[in-house]
Symmetry: C2
Subunit: 339 residues, 2 copies
């Protein structure tokens, strides 16, 4: 903590936090093991707690995002050669794996790191009579071995694992690993390219979801040390806000050829108004091949992805007509923007 | 899972999920211990991951909820006798503990189960020069011992630990324990009573945040086994919706005298329209003494609490003018509503 707290106290608090989480998990595991299997159901409190922590509710909004589903299904239908083998990273409900099978794949492997989702996907695939074509593997893609798990490298890699900030679900490390170890040379990648765009924005309302100063006469701004520093989703259209710049590219990856490593770059935004920018609002585009682009543009509030809010480390004053320069650092999962 | 899955497979998936979480935590602990203290900061990726999982972002919206803060501060100013000793459950930033000290308490103990928040609260209290009056204890209230931790039972218990569904943060078990073990006989409780109200509602838009049927020709409704079954917060005013009944009481507790145990009861709602109710929308009232009531009514979309959406286990058809009867079961943390 910036005031008073030594790094030792910070380290201790972080470790204590982890220890507390571990002990809560151990308690749940023990409660689970004491439950007779015949009385175990997803309705039990213990089950609902585990599900709620591990299966985010956005899966439902995503499955109900018709525009997304139609674009992805069309991309699979046009992009998968007849008889091809496919690896789909992130099974979820099994939807894309089933769409790949329907599109003509001879064999579809789909991996899901969450064991509960993997179990549901298995049951969904089974209910559709597709177990001969589709294999659900309960592992993260980075734990897959092409020879052991996939019967050799696959022809097509499907990786719709993007969040509102493009890389937050691990697109970069997953694709880095998959294209080297799981995909045949010159295999097809869906998406094949991914881009992130942004605009400077001012919104006191959204700022107050992640920052505080003085409350009832007490300065509690030390709380800001616990604010979210990377991007998070926000339904921007439901909060008062003002854009302060033109849109500009933030990140861009050729998924087949670029290094896909963490890095940094400078960003330039042409200001359209005088003001104080508190964040970069971002949206992405995925090239799904055959002219199909999957995106969550700001003018589509129906997209389940929502725009991403990337807090600026410090606010930036904009002047209409002038260019604001920022610095972007990205890791395998996070985006950070500073002056 | 309802189809195919045996309880053994469900149990295995739940255990596998816990094992995965534990191993991720162990990895983080190990990474943390390998980090030299002098290079450890809240800016490090490892820190931000731990913070993000353990300190929900709603703390900021809450601290910026002026109406809430003013009501609570007024309640402490009017409700704490000069020179009283106070226990505040859930320190957060330390705000209420500081307000209690300013209101005239001679000694304030405040406990916080999250070690990172406890560390921030300690630093905030220190920055205000209040360490002589306020002690921040990094424990859940149920782990406190009056003699050892508080120098004996306290005169006033402050427990603003309510979520959109009133009991989701453990109000019942916390107060049950505190009034028996931590509060002096005839001690003052703030709040002293808590009530939950509800209305039947129809909203396809909100329903789709937690339920799915058929997508692109595939029936993926088995996903609904992983839907949220208890209440969750929803910014109802930002989604199309239609109320189908009058408001009616859902739960009510005299925190000093009632058992505060899990239970069940029947609910009756006078329908105001024909329709299909998918949920109960709920809001609470807390009696803070001296005529001060803290609430998150449906007509106040500025409240950081938001209304609570309690899914009905099955939809209910309403007929204007007729009464719809439902069954509520509540546990220490959850609300479930069935026919």
């Amino acid at each position: 903590m910036p005031t008073n707290g030594s790094p030792y106290r910070l380290g201790a608090a972080l470790l204590e936090s982890l220890a507390q989480e571990m002990s809560a998990l151990a308690e749940q595991a023990s409660a689970l093991l004491r439950t007779p299997p015949e009385s175990l159901s997803l309705d039990a409190d213990i089950s609902t707690q585990i599900v709620r922590r591990n299966v985010p509710r956005w899966h439902f909004a995503m499955l109900n995002d018709t525009e997304r589903n139609e674009a992805l299904v069309a991309a699979l239908e046009r992009g998968i050669p007849a008889g091809a083998t496919v690896l789909d990273i992130g099974s979820g409900s099994g939807l894309l794996a089933m769409a790949a099978a329907r599109a003509g794949a001879s064999r579809v492997f789909t991996c899901e790191m969450n064991p509960l989702l993997a179990e549901v996907a298995r049951n969904v695939v089974d209910a559709h009579g597709l177990t001969d074509v589709i294999t659900v593997i309960s592992k993260p893609s980075t734990a897959l071995d092409a020879g052991r798990d996939l019967g050799g490298p696959v022809d097509v890699l499907v990786s719709e694992i993007v969040d509102c900030g493009l890389i937050g679900e691990g697109l970069l490390p997953s694709v880095r690993h998959a294209r080297e170890h799981l995909l045949a040379p010159d295999g097809i990648m869906l998406p094949s390219a991914a881009r992130l765009y942004g605009k400077l924005v001012n919104s006191e309302a959204v700022l107050k979801l992640n920052q505080v100063t003085t409350v009832s006469g007490f300065d509690v701004s030390l709380m800001n040390t616990l604010a979210t520093r990377s991007h998070f989703p926000v339904r921007l259209d439901t909060w008062p806000h003002r854009f302060l710049s033109e849109a500009a590219p933030v990140l861009g990856f050729d998924l087949a050829r670029d290094a896909l490593e963490p890095g940094e770059r400078s960003l330039e935004f042409l200001a359209t108004a005088d003001g104080e920018a508190q964040a970069l609002v971002v949206w992405f585009e995925l090239d799904m091949g055959n002219g199909i682009v999957l995106s969550n543009p700001l003018d589509n509030p129906r997209s389940h992805w929502m725009p991403g809010w990337v807090p600026l480390e410090k606010p930036v004053l904009t002047k209409a007509g002038e260019t604001a320069s920022l610095r972007l650092r990205w890791s395998d999962f996070t985006l950070r923007v500073s002056l």
